[in-house]
């Protein structure tokens, strides 16, 4: 993927004459058992592609096409000013659809580069951080991928800042194109405590068609995408929350209503966010997803209470865990 982009841009450079500026916007990283390309392209924030763990593909691409933001009403429902569209029923500002592009990036604080790579050791486990720091409006956004030597990927969105002094929610939509083992025969399963055994084991259900779904923390609902032949797969686990948050938040009625969407992969649908600030994810055509390359959308819901002020950083994101 990166080589295609480089070819594109070399071509552009030829037809444009002198390059406007020259900063690395893509690269390849090899670390522990991981190898992947990164790029900032197409208003999809910092994306990883051709991600392999222990020499086997687990993700063909992972990106963050949009962070939708919805502010609370300035007028409560019982106030006449919010009736029948008379007044500002849903607030003065927003909703927003933040799409991180290269032009939004600033040097990562404490790192210096616009795309920062750092290694950490946490409780004896090595982690690699690859992140980008963006400014959109008053928001400070840090979007990073944390990869552990043990086969975990944590997509994390950190946010601070207020556009209006009102409580609001950020809804990051991560797009995960699987294609595990590079074979295009993914199976997607959902696990729920107490669900009947359909032949895959207690609690497991196989998705046959495109679907939208929500979390169910009391029943430990989680998802597993695997290659149908070798059984190697990746768990998608809802995040437990990074304090002070306790989890990945709850869907917001009428604005961002699901946590997970499974779609059959189509390259032409990888064109950024086309659904506006008020729209939700489309591409739900009832297509079969069995033994196909699948696209798995994970949406977190980050609540930001105005009373917390603009300085407090908040972070959300799921856990992807390789299973071999």
């Amino acid at each position: 993927m990166r080589s295609v982009l480089i070819a594109c841009c070399l071509f552009c450079a030829m037809v444009m004459g002198t390059p406007a500026f020259a900063e690395p916007r893509s690269g390849t990283i090899t670390w522990e058992k991981w190898t992947f390309d990164w790029e900032v392209y197409g208003n999809q924030s910092l994306a990883l592609s051709d991600v392999t763990f222990d020499r086997e593909l687990i993700l063909s691409k992972a990106s963050l096409p949009v962070i939708k933001v919805k502010y609370e009403r300035e007028w409560p429902w019982y106030h006449p000013y919010s009736w029948f569209g008379i007044g500002r029923s849903t607030g003065r500002c927003g909703p927003f659809q933040d799409r991180i592009a290269w032009r939004h990036l600033e040097p990562v604080p404490g790192c210096g580069d616009k795309v920062c790579t750092r290694s950490y050791t946490v409780d004896g486990v090595k982690w690699l951080e690859v992140g980008a720091y963006a400014r959109i409006g008053e928001y400070h956004l840090y979007h990073a991928w944390y990869l552990s030597e043990l086969g975990e990927i944590r997509p994390v969105l950190q946010s601070r800042g207020l556009s209006c002094q009102t409580t609001h929610q950020h809804h990051p939509y991560w797009r995960l194109d699987f294609g595990i083992a590079g074979e295009g025969r993914d199976q997607v399963f959902v696990y729920t405590d107490g669900a009947p055994n359909e032949g895959w084991g207690p609690g497991w259900h196989k998705y046959t068609n495109e679907v939208n779904a929500v979390k169910d923390p009391p029943k430990h609902r989680s998802w597993f995408v695997r290659d149908s032949q070798n059984g190697h797969g990746v768990w998608v686990l809802p995040g437990d929350g990074y304090p002070p948050l306790m989890n990945d938040g709850e869907p917001q009625s009428g604005f961002s209503t699901r946590d997970v969407s499974v779609r059959r992969y189509h390259e032409e649908e990888d064109t950024g966010w086309l659904f506006g600030a008020r729209g939700d994810l489309g591409y739900l055509n009832g297509e079969g997803v069995q033994e196909e390359v699948t696209t798995f959308w994970y949406t977190a819901h980050l609540p930001h209470h105005a009373a917390m002020g603009p300085a407090a950083w908040l972070a959300v994101g799921p856990v992807l865990k390789v299973q071999r």
């Binding site: 500026f21 990283i29 008379i86 933040d98 290694s119 982690w127 840090y142 597993f224 304090p243």
Partner: protein, 265 residues
């Protein structure tokens, strides 16, 4: 209850209601499972590693709570060049008569990027049908916003040659551009309500989407491309003044829909 002639209207109404409800229910297709061997799935949800965050020493972001090691991964980086508004490709797109008609008199350039081979708007297959020189890397997607027609405009270019003007999804709004941001700030700073108060403050711009409102005097930009401009102390993320700016009009003063001090928490 035995059906009678007298109960017939009720039965009809009931069956029509059920049919209507089924027709209105969200369509969800469900195929049977494919006949593959059912390999066992993991019996337990895996235990994940601990990853906590703390404020970085400079407060610039959260960092993992642990030891930072100096070991850097093996990296190769590639330089990608930006296609600017004054590049020959964008200039050529803007000169094409079909594009000029679509843009109208007032428009802004948003961005231009090489299109992927199956780009939704500018797939390389367009080149093959138009018998133009088809190399996978030659298609460029140029995006504008026409304020004259309140519509995004995407132009597919094969180098400096016009290829097509694809249809745009109804709700699509391209991201805000540098020039739009600069213009929105300029216009907001001219507004008499905040003009004297925002000097020395840093302006920020974000694309917004005003809702529809019943009264025409309260339709603050619905259906237009509208920017929310805030003024704050640099780096604070804490707005002190705001302006809602619609760049549709040529007259600056007509473009600030609202402006004032940001209400306190």
């Amino acid at each position: 209850m035995k059906p009678t002639v007298r109960s017939l209207p009720g039965v009809l109404v009931l069956s029509m209601s059920i049919t209507g409800l089924l027709a209105c229910a969200p369509f969800e297709r469900k195929d049977p499972e494919t006949s593959v061997t059912k390999q066992a799935l993991p019996a337990q949800i895996p235990v994940v590693s601990k990853l906590e965050f703390v404020q970085s020493p400079n407060g610039g972001r959260l960092i993992p709570k642990g030891d930072t090691t100096v070991v850097q991964p093996k990296m190769q980086m590639a330089v990608l060049d930006e296609i600017l508004e004054d590049s020959p490709i964008v200039q050529a797109a803007g000169r094409h008569p079909h594009v000029r008609e679509k843009l109208g008199g007032r428009y802004f350039f948003i961005d231009a990027e090489p299109a992927k081979s199956k780009d939704q708007f500018c797939p390389v297959s367009l080149l093959r049908t138009s018998a133009q020189a088809a190399t996978p890397s030659s298609m460029i997607r140029v995006t504008y916003y026409s304020y004259s027609h309140s519509l995004p405009v995407i132009v597919c270019m094969n180098a400096q040659e016009f290829v097509s003007l694809p249809a745009i999804p109804k709700d699509y709004q391209p991201p805000e551009s540098d020039r739009e941001e600069a213009e929105a700030i300029r216009v907001a700073q001219l507004d008499a309500r905040i003009q004297d108060k925002v000097k020395g403050l840093k302006a920020h711009v974000i694309l917004t989407d005003p809702e529809w409102r019943l009264w025409w005097w309260n339709r603050e930009g619905h259906g237009h491309r509208v920017f929310y401009v805030t003024f704050s102390q640099p780096g604070s993320g804490d707005p002190e003044y705001y302006a809602v700016v619609d760049l549709t009009d040529e007259i600056d003063t007509a473009n600030v829909l609202q402006a004032g001090a940001e209400p306190k928490r």
